[in-house]
Each structure stands twice: as C-alpha cells, then as structure tokens.
Amino acid sequence: MAEVLVYVDHVDGAVRKPTLELLTLARRIGEPVAVALGAGAADTAAVLAEHGAVKVLTADAPEFADYLVVPKVDALQAAYEAVSPAAVLVPSSAEGKEIAARLAVRIGSGIITDAVDLEAGDEGPVATQSAFAASFTTKSRVSKGTPVITVKPNSAPVEAAPAAGAVEALAVTFGALATGTKVVSRTPRESTGRPELTEAAIVVSGGRGVNGAENFHIIEELADSLGAAVGASRAAVDAGWYPHSNQVGQTGKSVSPQLYIASGISGAIQHRAGMQTSKTIVAINKDAEAPIFDLVDYGVVGDLFAVVPQLTEEIKARKG
C-alpha cells in the first residue's frame, strides 16, 4: 500500500490533536509515515503508533528552534525523498501551512490548504475546502506532483488503529536558506489551562457587547463550566479586552468546534469566516436583528449580563 507522510505538530514530544486527526485521514489514502522534528521528537512515537503510524521518522538539531520554518522544510523534503509518498499531509497551523507550501514548490507539486475533509479518489486524494467565509464547499485535487494538503483542526475523528510505529532517524542536510531567518528570542504563551482554541470541542466567545476587559470573566466562567476554550471578536481584541491569540475570524483563529457560543457578537462576515463551520451555533445578543442569528441553531435575544451568568449557574447545577 502507498505511504502517506504526516507532519507531526508536537510540543516537546506531546502530540497535538490535529496530527492524530491527520492520521485518521492518512489511513483513507495509504499507510501513514509520521515525521517528527525537534526536541522530544522520538517521544511522539508511542501515541503516533497507537493511531496508525507504521513508521516515525525523527530528527533533532538546533536549527529547528533557532531559525524560522526553512530547516523544517529541509527535513520534510528529506523524508519525502526517503519515502516517495502518495501524499503529504500537514496540520493547517500558520507554520504548518508555510512548511507545506515551501515543500510543495520545491518538489514541483500543487498545494491545497485548509482542507476540511479528505477522501481517496481515482485521480488521487480529493480535498473538501470551505470558501468565501464558508458559504461554499469545494472539492479539489492536486493535479501535478505529489499532493501536499494542509488540513484544518477538527476535520476528522481521532481513532485508535495500532501500528508498528518503528522509530527511524532521518538524515537531514540543511541548505543555504535554512539559516536565513534567525529566531532571536522566543516568549512562550502563558497557558490558561483551558483547551487550545482551534482544537476545542466547545468555544465560548465574547464580543463588543461584553463591554470591557473586566467583564470577560463572565465569558470565562461559562467556558469553564463547559470545559471550553475562550474566543473573542476582533472588536473585543482591538479594544484590548482580550489577547489577540484568542481572536476568532478571518485574521484570527479559524475554529470548527461541536458547539460555538457567541455572546455580544454581531456576526460580521470576517467573524463568520472563522466559525461558520461549527456544528452547533448558539448566540446571545440583545439585538434581534443581529446577523449572527441567521446562523444559529439556538439564539437568545437578551442582555448577556443576565443570560450568561444564569446559563453558567444552570450548567453547574446540572453537572452537580
């Protein structure tokens, strides 16, 4: 059976959920061979094997942390040359997309970004994409070279499918461009203990209606009662009420959770672009005419300062 390269997104050996989803999709096309780079790369093997990786290629070198993107492209290219895969799958993070893109142009292949589904087809894998703020669904293929496809988080279930997951060291030679962009310093984002926004099953977001940083605890408390991630509209972020890293939308994160709860958000097209593929959408807004209500499965027309705390209390009571 054909092999499929899967680029592993991990933090010091802890594999992030979107990579496990990629393994599910990769198995529809062939046998997944995972590529894990950087500190802790070898520690990823057990969980990757449990989810279907027949092989795990690993490499570590200071270049991966000290320079931007290109060293990882050099390594993925080395894996590509060693394996000759039928496709290369990469998680659709900002960095993942850049790595995939540079690999694609190097190996003379087309690229599809932000796929939300993937199926085997007669002429190679068929990717489903969501266009124009998710108002269209397209099906596309790579018609030249080896398909390089980046896939959005929450696009496939995580499934156990035990495989050998034999670890092999990958030999990487860095090219002249690898050291072009130096990472002078790195400040890790502080962990909130809440789920990662793009990966969360439930996202609770607040917008301009929250009316101040000091009120965002209302949104956070609702999120915590549901084990959810917290999101924000750009209006709330621009006002300095919540960090940019929590922005949902075209220029923020794109989320696709099982449940999205928008409070005090009008539903501008740029916000919708980032949340419209959520499975169930709920909104709380005091304006019955707000465009967000066009999207909802359930909407409450009302003051969020009354509705949200009552909802949080009720959830806590029901959960006991």
Binding site: L68, A104, V105, S135, K144, K182, I202, L259
Partner: protein, 261 residues
Amino acid sequence: MSLRIVVCVKYVPDATGDRHFADDLTVDRDDVDGLLSELDEYAVEQALQIAEEADDAEITVLTVGPEDAKDALRKALSMGADKAIHVEDDDLHGTDVMGTSLVLAKAIEKAGYDLVITGMASTDGTMGVLPAILAERLGVPQVTLLSEVKVEDGTVTGRRDGDSASEQLEASLPALVSVTDQSGEARYPSFKGIMAAKKKPVESWDLEELEIESDEVGLEGSWTAVDSAAQRPARTAGTIVKDEGEGGKALAEFLAGQKFI
C-alpha cells in the same frame, strides 16, 4: 543607496458582497465589486513607514490580476506608494498559487528589490502561503506574519506572534516580509494623495515580457484542480427565544438536549 521596496497587493471581490464561483469554477469577478484586499493595506502601510525611516526609498506596488486590478494599484498609490506594476494577461485566468507566485517572482526580479512586503493572506483565497512560496522562489529569507517590523542597516527585524509563542526574528536584506493586521492601522489616502496618484506611473507587463509560457499559468497550467463548488445549504432556521428572565435556563435546556451538558 536607495532602498527598493516591492509591495504585492491583490485585487479581490468585496467580502461583504455575494461572492460566488463562475461556471469554470474560478472566482466570479464580474458580479461583485473588487477592491484592494484589506489585509494588503497593512502591507502598504508598513512599506510607507519603513520608507519614511530610510534615507532614500522607493515603493513599487505590484499586482497580478485582471484589468480592474488597476483600482487596487491606484488605492495603494494614493496611500503614498511611488509607482506601480500591473501584470495583466488573458492567459492568467484561473491561475493557482503556484502560478501566481511564479509570475510575482519573475516580476519582482525584473523590477529589482531589496525588500518585498505582502499581506498575511488574501481575503478571497485566504491561503496565507503565497509569501512563503515567494520567498522560496526568490531564494531570500522569509520574515513572515509580523505584527511589528523594522528595517535598519540592511537588516529586517520583527515580531511574529505564533500559536504557542511570540518570536523575535531577524534577517538580512534582501528579504521577504509579510505583515498581519496587528502591525498597525493603515492610513486613509488624503485628497492630495488621491490627486498625486493620478500622475504616478503604472506599468503594464504581460507574460511575454516576463518570459513565462502561457502553459505555466492559467487554468491549464494549474497544479491544482477544482472539481466542484457548491453553495452551502442555508442553515435551517434555528430556535430564537426572547429572554424574559429565564433565557439562560432555556438555553441550558437546549444544550442538555444536545448532550453538551
């Protein structure tokens, strides 16, 4: 020595319009008004600020697109860019990101540059990968997704706010930079700027001029193929209730019914 900045800007259908695909599954550009991609305004803004700091700098704005794309160039010129290049050719219709990046790379090399600046993503394709591909094609460092950028003594530095960390980056010119909408509000063209833009040069280049064969671009030359595009069915009308004191409880009941609680 003069700092030569090339800013890549895209002409896109207005996101607030009713965007859709044409019969050949390319973007229908006739039915919806086009404009300079809003995210590229941030790229023009950063170019202007870098030029203001430099002793001597020249900003060229570059677009690949249909005839109307000149509007996007005019907007960038009225913000303060010095000149414009429009790559226009019927054979470009339906070009994918590999083709677009090839055309941009050839045009940038022909124009001459020390620094290339792009937006973080277009507001239509929204791939966000063209800058990285362009850097690869040009063989220069990519300093991408910057929320802060500075150019001094032949070095570009900037801050990249990533998913898990914020990074301080550094590279030598020539380099390619992409900027996010966090990089700083884009200025509005002044009346004087709009008048001045009318006199600024806009060059038109075609594929022949760039020594690109027509089968390297366009629908035929694409490395990807769109097989179908379907409008997403409108969401079935949801339940909407007015809060009269029990709205939160009613919502909890709905969430419990959906097994979220």
